[in-house]
Symmetry: C2
Subunit: 279 residues, 2 copies
């Protein structure tokens, strides 16, 4: 991995890197915030998965997360949302292709050549970072927003021993029943809806996946909540039925933007810090 930018912030460093990804077969860009505590020892890490249209840059500029990570001594890992490059399949729409990897391993041509974001964020990237940065091996949690909230939920539910905690902002909780989710899952996985369920948080809970706890914030003025893209009620019902501990906080008057995330990211980072520091 090659460092291409380093900006001092809150006493630590916000770095951007590129590397050649094996699983995505292209050059990938990501950012890491290393808190001041990383200068004198290893720190735990919180992975943040971003939403449709984002790169690694949106969250690092807009969420205000670095302040809390600096206080808590936690590294923040900001992967990109898809493979990119001239040789990477794409469509001329915002919700499929680059910027919309949906955190799945594609099985369909031509997408499967590069769109292996599930393996990328759960395996390749953590292994790379634990080899190269002052991170405590295996001591990681995960969160994200919208498509990235979906990503956080499925990564944790499919790998309960790999993440100390999981949270999400306005996640796509049941993508097999929303138009964003259906379009991406059909594109990347084909028309066998059984394959879709392996990447659907609500279906995973229904099938017996379990983590110790889940924290979700959802704004009541979120247009995509109204559009039934997110479906937290379906996730709540599945968790209730499966005795999966979950707290879904309906935040009155908040929308889908980073202003919503900024308002509650401090509480999420405190939630993850508690889990990461209790081990």
């Amino acid at each position: 991995m090659k460092i291409i930018e380093s900006i001092k912030e809150f006493g630590g460093y916000l770095n951007r890197y590129t590397h050649q990804s094996d699983v995505c077969d292209c050059e990938m860009t990501f950012s890491v915030y290393l808190p001041p505590q990383a200068e004198s020892g290893k720190v735990p890490a919180l992975y943040w998965l971003s939403g449709l249209t984002c790169t690694d840059d949106n969250v690092r500029v807009k969420a205000g997360a670095q302040r809390y990570a600096s206080e808590q001594g936690i590294a923040l890992i900001f992967p990109d949302t898809s493979p990119r490059g001239d040789d990477v399949a794409d469509e001329d729409r915002y919700d499929i292709g680059t910027g919309a990897g949906f955190y799945v391993n594609s099985t369909q041509s031509p997408w499967k050549n590069n769109y292996q974001m599930y393996d990328y964020v759960t395996k390749e990237l953590p292994a790379l970072l634990e080899r190269n940065l002052p991170l405590i091996a295996g001591m990681k949690s995960i969160s994200g927003h919208s498509m990235g909230g979906h990503g956080a939920l499925i990564c944790a539910l499919k790998n309960p021993d790999s993440y100390q905690s999981v949270s999400a902002f306005a996640p796509i909780c049941n993508p097999i029943h929303g138009s964003w989710g259906k379009a991406c899952l059909n594109t990347y996985l084909g028309d066998d809806t059984k394959a879709w369920q392996a990447y659907d948080a609500t279906s995973l809970v229904e099938a017996g996946a379990k983590v110790s706890d889940i924290l979700i914030d959802q704004g009541t003025a979120d247009e995509f909540y109204d559009e039934k893209q997110l479906l937290p009620e379906n996730f709540q019902a599945a968790c209730d039925k499966a005795n999966q501990s979950v707290t879904i906080r309906m935040q009155d008057g908040y929308d889908h933007s980073y202003h919503f995330i900024a308002s509650f990211i401090g509480e999420h980072i405190a939630y993850h810090a508690k889990a990461l520091k209790s081990k």
Copy 2:
């Protein structure tokens, strides 16, 4: 004034407005963060003047200021950096014309028709806002970044009774001696350098202007500091000679970006809150 957007954040509202400005003779856009305390009473206000190329949007998205304003019960006022519109004079460069009003009253054609940003931010906008929003009349402070740091310093130094406190991030302290400042001042004020001094913070202190105190943060890795656009040393020397209280903190390793501002905006808002709440 007409509200065109309202986003809930940190329990308050980040609103955007347009209005017809008399002094700039065009439609102007600005944003205001009203903290939760403004729902039950009037609050003091911190004006934030942004830098070259910015609109009202950069600071509200990138600085992380709303969090502290919510805690302190202070409104944040984010004006635009210039007049705008099809009828407004402009040049095809980033450092003169729209996005680069330099917070002066232009005396030169065609700029003088609209570029009256000094009167706009010190008189017209505060009067408009105190008539229309729950703000305590006259209870205001001012801060800003780069060109906006220059703006904050001159607004306070020229109106010491109008602002309870003043601070700045990487301000252009002595624009008559930097290439940005010279280009703007020459464009908007003509070639009489005496006229420039009336909008130059260092010259104003040399000429006897006085405020109770000034807080400045300047990053040591700031490329525009290296380029001698900012010249805080000149301002420090003038303040020392005039017995003007000033604290210029050279922040090791920080650059000119909003990541630098985000790192210290909380301390600046606490500094202003102390002044605004002691009256």
